[in-house]
Amino acid sequence: MASPDPRRERLLLCGWLAAAFALSAVTDLRALGLAALAAAVAFRRGLPRALGRVARLVLPVTLAMSALSWAFLRLGAPVAPPLEPFLALAARTLLLAFLAFSVLARVNLLRALAPWPAATRLVVIALAQIHALRLLATESADGLRSRLPRRPGPLDVVRNASGITAALLVLAVRNAREVSDAMRSRGF
């Protein structure tokens, strides 16, 4: 299978950024509906997956915020506040999240960053370290759960997090030195 063209990926990223800023200015519900339809057609491959992520990660916060605000305004006013601005806020947020998930699933960000080697190295180092440190943090949390006969409370987790932070910092700095030496030996 031919690998995607990095220039196409960069164009897609630039298009997404421009669209995100443009859509973040839209308040008209009809325009947002049309944009959502266009986005769904353009990104129909992977549509259920992207919608699922939107529903899981963005929908609850957006709906809760809109509903609470509407209820707050309703309490202080003799007539119900108009629903349109709340619907537009929710639609805009959900559409922007859908666009982000759909575009980022189609782009290899590291390949797109290739013309900027320093940025690429920084992202590679950060992502690799995130992966390594996350494994350690997960193991530590599992260890905490296995040591306690009950569910860990907030104090248990904070105490454990402080300890793991010290270990993570040691590991992160040691890894950073190793990467630094490796980079220098390769001529960076």
Binding site: L17, A20, F21, S24, A25, T27, V61, T62, M65, L68, S69, L73, P81, P85, A88, L89, T93, L94, L95, L96, A97, A100, F101, L104, L109, A118, R121, L122, V123, V124, I125, A126, L127, A128, Q129, I130, R134, A141, R151, G153, P154, V157, V158, A161, S162, G163, I164, T165, A166, L168, L169, V170, A172, V173, N175, V179, S180, M183, R184, F188
Partner: protein
């Protein structure tokens, strides 16, 4: 505490980029400019550390959870500018690789959570550390969370004032939603975490490692 994409219009987000861009340039020149082979891995490692600390969920009464931020700790250990750079990278990685926050609001989030909050926490810690010791770290972290939450609430309030039809949520609601959990839970948790982590790091004498 992240503002998601769609909550703020370009009238707010573009000026925020204009403010953040020179600060990013300054931070990058100061911390990445001298020797990339040495500085890049350290910044990458501290960014990863901040990212991972922010994934640690703290259960709070009521069945929900909050998470640590950990940027005040970085500001106290390595200075507010490096903390700003690392938190900005965390927010960028979260927006690009994990779908949290957003690209249009990146500068607003970075200024609130990466600069104003940690800068306030760092200043409080610097002012009180000789007299108050551990309490200075606790207070610094607590203040940092309140300043960050307050800044986000102010920006959302400003958006409501500029264009209520765009963001219909009044300042009172945004401020309550952001500051109530921050004052009651997140600030205390962050303060406790910062005190304990600093104590462990001092015991191991790790401050000069990076």
């Amino acid at each position: 505490m992240h503002v998601p994409d769609g909550f703020l219009s370009p009238a707010i987000t573009l000026p925020a980029y204009a403010v953040a861009a020179p600060l990013w340039a300054l931070a990058a020149r100061r911390h990445l400019g001298r020797d990339a082979a040495d500085a890049l891995p350290v910044v990458g490692a501290l960014t990863a550390l901040a990212f991972v600390v922010q994934t640690i969920a703290i259960p709070v009464p009521g069945g929900t959870s909050t998470h640590l931020v950990g940027v005040t700790l970085l500001a106290i250990l390595y200075g507010p500018l490096l903390a700003f750079l690392c938190e900005s990278l965390v927010l960028l990685l979260q927006a690009l690789f994990f779908g949290a926050g957003g690209v249009t609001v990146l500068a607003v989030n970075a200024l609130a959570m990466g600069l104003l909050g940690p800068l306030a926490g760092w200043a409080v810690h610097r002012l009180l550390r000789r007299r108050a010791g551990r309490a200075a770290a606790f207070l610094g972290a607590w203040v940092s969370m309140q300043v960050a939450a307050g800044a986000v609430a102010l920006v959302l309030g400003l958006q409501h004032r500029v264009a209520p039809e765009y963001f219909p949520v009044p300042f009172a609601v945004s401020a309550t939603a952001l500051l109530a959990p921050s004052l009651a839970v997140t600030g205390l948790v962050e303060g406790l975490y910062t005190v304990l982590a600093l104590a462990l790091l001092r015991r191991a004498d790790l401050r000069g490692l990076a």
